[in-house]
């Protein structure tokens, strides 16, 4: 019983991170139908930048919370600029090209970013400076930390802000219109190029926040960390129904929980043949099952509902 509760708590934490990253995939997919495989690397760069800033300011005597906030803010700004540049330099020139072309470009960009990160930050694991005094709380036999509380609340806050943006603001309305029918949206006066750029910028900002979260959760970063994280978040987006914002949020949380439960019980299920380090397989089992039986995802519209 205490394993169950513990794994639910861990799953929720991880799921909040997946959800934020999945939103970046789904926003871009919803508007231009591109799976931006470089998005995981944007998240990784977010973690790296935040680490660098935090390490640089660690000895400055500033209060830790301020240092963390500055790290987060710089990461967000850098990632927004990166997302904007990716769209501008790599994807926009390919608008109207066959679908496979930008997809391959995305994979290429992901490699480019990994290598750039390797050159800047090196091949080794980078460890997070011990900035946060960890508090551990326990309920019903399970424990969680203040870091986990911060991750889940910040994710909830960011997602509410996104929902507000998409449903209550002018640019959000333009984004929804463009996702449903770009030609007609442009007839209404929507500058499609701007909307597409915004989708990349906002998605990258969410990615940066997620990057800071994984960084502070695992207290470690590596130039290849974006690959697995990106793949899992992509799975979460597909699970929720790619192109669907609520789907990405739900898919992220669900995947986090599935993974954590899987990791918690895999030993029992396989008679200790497989250990919890096999937890990564669950995301891909989920991906395969969804693609086989419900490719439109849990919340995905039927094809006919999409404009």
């Amino acid at each position: 019983m205490d394993t169950l509760l513990q794994q639910l708590i861990n799953g929720l934490t991880l799921g909040a991170v997946y959800a934020l990253v999945a939103l970046g995939y789904t926003m871009v997919y919803g508007i231009i139908g591109l799976i931006n495989f470089a998005h995981g690397e944007v998240v990784m760069i977010g973690t790296m930048v935040a680490f660098t800033v935090i390490v640089a300011l660690a000895g400055s005597g500033l209060p830790p919370l301020l240092v963390l906030s500055i790290g987060l803010a710089v990461a967000v700004v850098v990632c927004m600029a990166l997302g904007w540049s990716l769209e501008r330099v790599a994807y926009r020139p390919l608008r109207g090209a066959p679908r496979l072309t930008p997809l391959i470009t995305a994979i290429g960009m992901s490699m480019v970013l990994q290598n750039v990160a390797m050159i800047i930050w090196g091949r080794n694991y980078i460890t997070f400076p011990p900035m946060i005094t960890k508090h551990i709380y326990s309920v019903g036999g399970a424990t969680f930390t203040n870091v986990q509380v911060a991750i889940v609340s910040l994710a909830a806050l960011v997602m509410m802000a996104l929902i507000y943006l998409v449903h209550r603001t002018r640019i959000g309305m333009a984004m929804r219109a463009t996702a449903q029918n770009p030609h007609v949206a442009s007839l209404m006066g929507v500058d499609i190029n701007r909307v597409i750029a915004m989708a990349f910028v906002i998605g990258s900002a969410l990615g940066a926040v997620a990057g800071c979260m994984v960084g502070s959760y695992y207290e470690i970063a590596h130039y290849q960390m974006g690959f697995m994280l990106g793949l899992k978040a992509f799975t979460a987006a597909v699970l929720g129904g790619i192109g669907n914002l609520a789907g990405a949020m739900a898919g992220g949380l669900l995947l986090g929980v599935i993974e954590a439960l899987g990791a918690g019980y895999i030993g029992q299920l396989t008679g200790d043949f497989l250990g919890s380090h096999y937890q990564d397989i669950f995301a891909f089992i989920v991906l395969i099952i969804v693609l086989m039986f419900r490719p439109s995802g849990l919340f995905g519209e039927r094809e006919g509902d999409r404009a």
Partner: protein, 234 residues
Amino acid sequence: MLEVTGLRVSYGGIQAVRGITFHVNEGEMVALIGANGAGKSSTLRALARLLTPAGGSVRYRGKELVSLPPHRLVGEGIALVPEGRGVFPRMSSLENLRMGAYARNDKPAIQHDLEHVLQLFPRLKERAQQTAGTLSGGEQQMLAIGRALMSKPKLMLLDEPSMGLAPIMVQKIFEVIRKVASEGMTILLVEQNAKLALEVSQRGYVMESGEITVTDESHKLLADPKVRAAYLGE
């Protein structure tokens, strides 16, 4: 108001519009009729800059439109009601109408125009919160026209508003088109239903395989034996 000279549209190697010249005067309703594939929609899409013409010029109130990006046209006062309506399927009727006013920032006037549109189409008022994708074809056409009106256009380009609709619905929609025209709107009406289009318009152009072959006042075209034979099923 609108002067089109030598307009050409091609898709890859196929020439869909082969250098057509026509004009629309202020306050006029002009019909552009022709069979399937004649190039009518391609012409409208080129006017609305949804595609870049292969050649020719489109002057609107003395301004060249061919160099403008599509999202700037609405600000010039041009609204296209596209073939197949193009409503935003996952937005409510009301949101669709508000999208029509996206480029405007005169809030009180927008509210006023919204009420006017809902008066023109009482059906939309009943369906205000309904998702546009679930509206009937006729309701979607009303919504598309209403949405175009919400941009407060000076020139409306209508692409087959009667397509796929029951006669009673066609009648309703044309009543509104007539009413809007009588209030001074300039309209370029593309229709396969030639009889209907020629009855409501002042002048007409007949398009055949990418070229304009006949033009005259609408009532004369209605009486023209050749036009009657080719487009009015006689």
